[in-house]
Every structure is written in C-alpha cells, then in structure tokens.
C-alpha cells in the first residue's frame, strides 16, 4: 500500500465512582465494558469508513484516578506478542483476560488494527529486590491487535507522569515496533513524547514510518497544549503521529489529531461539549519516500550567522509553567529583537498589521532544566501575547488576540537538533502550513 486510512478517537472516558474500598473484579469489568461499548461504536464506524487502524486514548478503558490497590481489579496479565495469541479465538490461554478478548474480537470482527491503553500485572517475589511489597508489578500498557485479532504489540509506559502512583516504571525503556502492510509502526504513551528513550529512539534508530500515541494530556497554555505540541513533534521528527487524547473539559483534556511530517491532516480541539470525536485521515505509508518529505533543519545555522539585534530594549523575568524566562517587550509595529539566556540567544524580526495599545507582546528565552511534574532540559524561544498590558502577566495563559502579524522570523542559537516549532493562533487554533514555513537554516518564518 502507498497510503492507508488512519483513525483516532478522542474519548470522553467514563470514570469509576470514587469509593472507599477497591471495586470488585465484576464492578471493574462493568465500568471497562461501558467504555469499551463507546470505543466499539467508534471502531466500527471507522472500519466502515475504510480505516486500517484506530488509536484510542491512554487511560481510555478505566480512567486515571487510582491508587495501587484500587486499580488492581482492572488489570490483566498481558503476555508478550511473541506468544502469537489471538484472544478472540483462545480467550482462556492466559487466564482471566476479558478486556483483551473483547479488544481482539473488535479488531477481528471489524478487520481493523485496534490500539488501546490498559493495565498489565506481573507477579514477582522477594527474589527480585525491586519487587514491590504487594508482590506484583503494575504497568501502564498500550496494546495493539491486528485485523485478525492477534496481539502484535505491548508497550509498558516508561516515563510515568508524577501523579501516576498506581503504576510501576519498567526496569528499562522498551522500544516497541511492528510491521504492517501499511508501514512500520512504533508506539509510546503520553509523557514519553518528551523523552529520548523511547520517543527519539523509535524514530531515529528503528526508523518507523508512523507512531501510535495514546495520551491523556491536559492542556497548559501557552506552550504545552496537545495539538500544537504533538503536531510540532511530528513535524520535527518527520514521522506520522496518530494522537488520541482523552476528553474532559473540566480538566482541560482535549486535543487529538493525525499529523504527517509535512502537515496537520486533521485535528480536534473542543472545550465546549463533553462528546468524544472520531477523526480519520489518509496518510502515506512511508513518508520518507515522498518528494514532499521535509528536509532536515539546522536549527541554529541562521541564528549563529547573524549579529544580535542590539536595539534599545529592557529585559524582565517571567514564568511560563514554572520556568523563568527572560523577556523583552515588543515596542513598535515592526522591529528586530534579540533576547538571550545562558547559551541561548533568540532573534525575532516582525511586522504587525497594526500596533494595538490594548495588547502587549514579548519575546522570551529559556535555557534550563524544567523541574515541575517531570524533569527535562529545555531551550525555548517564544513570541507570545501577554495576558494583559501588565508585563507581569507575560507567560500567563492567553486565549485570544486581535493583533495580526504580517511578517515574522523567529530563530535561536540552539545547542540541540531537537526543536519543535509551534504557532498557535487566537482561539487555540493551529496556523495553517500555507502561512508559514521552517527554513533549512532554522527560521520559523512567514511565507511570501
């Protein structure tokens, strides 16, 4: 196949009621089956529309508010795919596995690959010094069943998010890939996307064509919203990314999409309703073989080639998601600015359609270790609208803007080749690719 139809379902997860004591196995299965009823409908609809594969979200079967004890009734023993198992045909082979049986039958009956996120339990004992006191490991696990219902992939999430106390870390990062008639696939989960292992490794060393990406992402403006961040990752890593998010407006969870290296094919962002959403799009099986495959970018080439713009500017600090940026205010309708922090210098040239007195923009730079809800080292150049005209609000979430930019060019002296370009427009919409481009020497710039 040259192309395939991908499906992603943003699912409004039915969450278990908060109870004092853990649910019984029967109650747990009842809740999971209610979620699987919804996912089944979406999968059948996707299959009817010709989809080859459907991705459903992380925690999509039972939710995310658990302790180690309370999630136990929801867990099953999930074997390694090497056992060549079709649960729909042989449901008893690995004990009590109703969820795997149902997912397998759904894939088999609808002739579609089904990707889901469930929980794996593995017994251990005192001979294993790392064995938890309750005698078992519990893993946040992605599973993939092929169109015959065979278990073809199992991935244990490596980079657990700080609140995920119900799960254990695998001893090592797993790189899980599998081949299909429509390309080579990798898979990892949510917070893993910040990582080198497995996220970069699965793309660069294992050269997958597409990545399956179940996630339960809550949006944090201005820099960590699902659709902008995930589409930027797909663009920079130059692979297809099938991102299925959970849907919960109270927790700002929304933002699913099907992203190709060249463009955002389709995305969904909905803070208005409590409904799930099925997305479909056609993708190239092997993006690297396409003439339109984006060239590699040398992200610091341009920025290192120009002298810093030393216009009259004052710097001030501002926090974005607990990281202290160095900011400078954009004073005029047009101009050139440079702001630096440690080894990183960010250059901006811009021209606004008009300079509004009621809106303020700032250019910011951050070069440091982020340490909240995870620890990872960032180098960021950002142009953003401040929440009000008070410079102390620069970095706070902003949802709308009336100032329009006719021309812009943003670049930075990055010490990394992993830079993810984002442009978010008013209303948290993505900027269409026809309006901007990334030059090979590292400028995120307006077209034309």
């Amino acid at each position: 196949l040259d192309s395939f139809t991908a499906a992603v379902y943003e699912h409004a997860v039915l969450l278990p009621n908060a109870t004092e004591s853990p649910a019984s196995r029967e109650e747990a299965l009842l809740l999971m089956n209610r979620n699987l009823d919804v996912l089944e409908k979406a999968t059948k609809l996707a299959a009817r529309q010709g989809a080859h594969i459907i991705v459903t979200p992380e925690d999509g079967i039972y939710g995310w508010v658990f302790t180690r004890e309370s999630i136990y009734p929801y867990l099953e023993d999930i074997p390694a795919p090497e056992v060549n198992w079709i649960p729909c045909r042989d449901p008893q082979r690995f004990g009590y596995t109703p969820v795997q049986e149902r997912l397998s039958c759904l894939a088999k009956d609808s002739s579609i690959y089904v990707v889901a996120n469930i929980g794996d339990k593995k017994p251990c004992n005192s001979s294993d010094p790392l064995c938890p006191p309750d005698g078992r490991y519990q893993y946040n696990t992605d599973v993939v069943f092929d169109s015959e219902g065979r278990l073809v992939a199992r991935y244990h999430k490596y980079n657990l998010f700080a609140p995920e106390i119900q799960f254990d870390f695998p001893k090592d990062s797993e790189v899980v890939t599998f081949d299909t008639p429509f390309g080579k696939f990798g898979i990892f989960t949510c917070f893993d996307i910040f990582s080198h292992d497995p996220a970069v490794v699965v793309v660069q060393d294992f050269e997958v064509d597409s990545v399956l990406y179940p996630t339960a992402w809550y949006n944090t403006l201005p820099l960590l919203s699902a659709v902008p961040f995930h589409s930027a990752w797909a663009r920079a890593m130059r692979v297809n990314l099938l991102a299925a998010n959970t849907h919960n407006t109270r927790m700002h969870m929304t933002g699913s999409g099907i992203y190709s290296p060249e463009a955002v094919k389709v995305y969904h962002y909905d803070m208005e309703t409590e409904s799930g959403q099925l997305l479909l799009s056609e993708l190239r099986c092997r993006p690297r073989s396409q003439p339109t495959y984006p060239a590699a970018v040398d992200w610091s080439a341009y920025a290192r080639s120009v002298k810093p713009f030393l216009s009259e500017q004052t710097h001030f600090p501002g926090l974005i998601y607990f990281d202290e940026f160095t900011f400078t205010k954009l004073k005029g309708k047009t101009g050139n600015y440079t702001v630096c922090q440690k080894d990183l210098c960010c250059h901006l040239s811009y021209k606004m359609s008009e300079k509004r007195v009621d809106e303020v923009y700032a250019l910011g730079a951050f070069d440091g270790l982020h340490t909240v809800e995870g620890q990872y080292y960032l180098q960021i150049c950002t142009l953003l609208k401040c929440q009000t005209t008070d410079l102390r609000t620069c970095g706070e979430p902003v949802g709308s803007a009336f100032t329009t930019f006719e021309e812009f060019s943003l670049s930075g002296t990055f010490g990394t080749s992993y830079v993810f370009p984002q442009i978010i427009l008013s209303g948290s919409q993505l900027a269409p690719e026809r309006h901007y481009e990334v030059s090979r020497d590292g400028r995120l710039q307006s077209r034309g």
Partner: protein
C-alpha cells in the same frame, strides 16, 4: 501570507544530553 492573529510562536528545544536519568520525577506542582 495572510496576517495571522498570533497567540504564541515557539521554537521548543529539548536538550536530551542534559536530562536527568528519568523524566517522570519531579517535586510536583508548587501549589
């Protein structure tokens, strides 16, 4: 190119060599 109502324009770089051994740790939200 049409004028764009920009909220945020970002180049978000990750420097993996400077990461701690595991991302999924952290002191939690400072609230």
């Amino acid at each position: 190119g049409a004028p764009l109502p920009v909220l945020v324009m970002t180049l978000y770089g990750r420097v993996f060599e400077k990461d701690p051994p595991r991302l999924g740790q952290g002191p939690g939200k400072l609230q």
